[in-house]
């Protein structure tokens, strides 16, 4: 039984342009699922649709999102917000902009516990200190009182990770959580996310470009192209040989992490044309079903 279950999700712009094309995706409890695809494929859109933070221009036009067997569409906006706040958390892409510059760090970790989940302030603060230690921050009591601009990018990402785990969510959505960081810090943060995920048994939807990272962290994988799921498989099968030509080309285009300087084969034009044709055929089919 998966904790997150997305079925046939359609998201489109006001002018009808589709951003997600009947996306189905599951994340089982405690599972790490990687979501890969080129820039603009709609990876972030999936996370945003789940979290209820789609841009104003984009609307869900079909399908369902179930959380623990409960269809989010059936909830009132307020109930939905609070359900998400209690059970799902986001580790954002850019730690430099994801903390409020005019508030101290401590309250930004404890606020969800106090305001949404009704914890006592003292309990929430004790919990925050504990979490900051867990993400290997020295002098956590000092960091709690600091303003974001006083801390490095790596520190801020650790704080955001601590904050994401604060309410013991069942699912964490990490949207390229390391791309904004230095290469050396990237490795540490990635290790930390995996460590925290395993210790807390949290399910993780991990959005990334980097198939090298996927092999290290995920058990299953979804490949997205132009808002459509191209391939959905477990990691072993994928690295043994993806079934879709686009996935194979994507894998070939990734430098092996044992040989990072090895030659890169960009996704060949013929493969792009084939997958574009597939999307066009899918859209034509959709038109048919709408008319029928």
């Amino acid at each position: 039984m998966s904790f997150l279950s997305i079925r046939d999700l359609n998201v489109s712009l006001a002018n009808g342009a589709p951003l997600l094309r009947r996306v189905s995706l599951d994340v089982a409890a405690g599972e790490v699922r990687a979501l890969v695809g080129e820039s603009g494929a709609g990876k972030s859109m999936i996370g945003k649709a789940v979290l209820g933070i789609l841009p104003r221009a984009a609307k869900v036009t079909g399908g369902s999102i179930q959380l623990d067997g409960e269809d989010l569409e059936t909830l009132s906006p307020k109930a939905r917000r609070q359900r998400i706040g209690a059970r799902v958390a986001l580790i954002p892409q850019d730690p430099l902009t994801a903390l409020n510059p005019s508030r101290r760090v401590g309250p930004q970790i404890t606020d969800r516990l106090v305001d949404i989940l009704g914890w006592k302030r003292a309990e929430a603060e004790a919990r925050a200190l504990e979490l900051l230690e867990e993400v290997h921050i020295q002098a956590p009591d000092r960091v709690m009182k600091a303003y974001p601009h006083e801390l490095s990018g790596g520190m801020r990402q650790r704080i955001l990770i601590a904050s994401a785990f604060a309410a013991e969510p069942k699912l964490i959505i990490a949207d390229e959580p390391t791309t904004a960081l230095d290469v050396t810090v990237q490795k540490q943060i990635l290790k930390l996310i995996r460590e925290m995920q395993q210790r807390h048994g949290t399910a993780l939807l991990f959005v990334t470009h980097d198939l090298g990272v996927v092999s290290k962290i995920a058990q299953s994988l979804t490949v997205l192209y132009a808002g459509k799921v191209i391939e959905e498989t477990d990691i072993k099968a994928f690295f043994a040989g993806p079934s879709h030509a686009y996935s194979r080309a994507l894998l070939a285009a990734t430098p092996k992490y044992t040989d990072p300087d090895g030659s890169l084969t960009p996704v060949p034009d013929s493969v792009i044309q084939a997958v574009e044709a597939e999307i066009a055929a899918f859209d034509a089919g959709q038109m048919g079903t709408v008319r029928a």
């Binding site: 994801a98 606020d111 305001d115 949404i116 601009h149």
Partner: protein
Amino acid sequence: MQIARALITRLITTLVTLLGAAVIVFVVIRVVPGNPIAMMLPPGATDADIDRLKALYGLDKSILEQFWIWIGNVVQGDFGMSITLRQPVYDLVIGRLPATLELSILALLIAVFLGGAAALTATLYRGTKIEGGIDVAGGVALSLPDFLWGLALILVLGVLWPLFHISGRVSPSLGFEFGSNFYLFEALARLQFNVVGDLIAHMLMPALALAIPLAAIILQLLKQSLKECMHDDYITLARTKGYSESSIILRDALPNAILPTLTLIGVQFTFLIGGTVIIERLFSYEGLGNMAIDAVINRDLPLIQGIVLVFALLFTLVNLVVDMTYAALNPRLRHA
């Protein structure tokens, strides 16, 4: 160390500003046509009479000499005598200042409340007809200057529906004995709510006239800053935590959006104080501005100088308060 240096710099700029204002007004009112002596003497006065009066007020000396004498006295706390009212300028100005201060501050509070509430509401309902309506109201508020709003208010709330008093500061029929010139403040402190009501009924229209254009300016800038903040990542993150749109606007966006508005309010508040001159006249409100107009009409040189100095001092004080608030609200400055 840094704070001490900042304070000294501040003190010096304040003194230079005041001196500049003093020089300018001193020279200007002596260069423009019309002189106080002519106003004071009956028709048919002889040249000897004129010379005698000029000597009495020191007007026979050169402007530079007059300035030195005046500044020398001011430094010792002596602002001279009003020519027309024959009372010490200091007493006159201090007596009227509270009325103007109360009016300006009431107007400022109204402007901040109206402008702030409108900006927050428009942000909450951005992209809807409510935002459109608020924008239109803001545009209308900005299309007229304060004194025309004063006239419009007199017409509507003073004549058509006479809800408020159109002139004066307090009803004499109340027979209330004030111990200070801060009428409103005193009545509030003494819990005399019928007096407070009467004072407000007098002050509301002039205060509104001053507040309406400022409220619109606050609305426009604050709304703009708020809307920009609403795209920031920490706002999105707060949404995922389960917060409602209104609490996100108040708690996360407002503190980050407010600084430019604060600076603007500081500058605009000095304009508002300047606006009291005409507004007080329009509503026969017994304040400093009203007295300033009489002083100018009568060429009461010492009184004009005294009033201008007080206004200049007020402006620098307002700027000081704004800078301090700015530093207190911005963590990045606080730790720098």
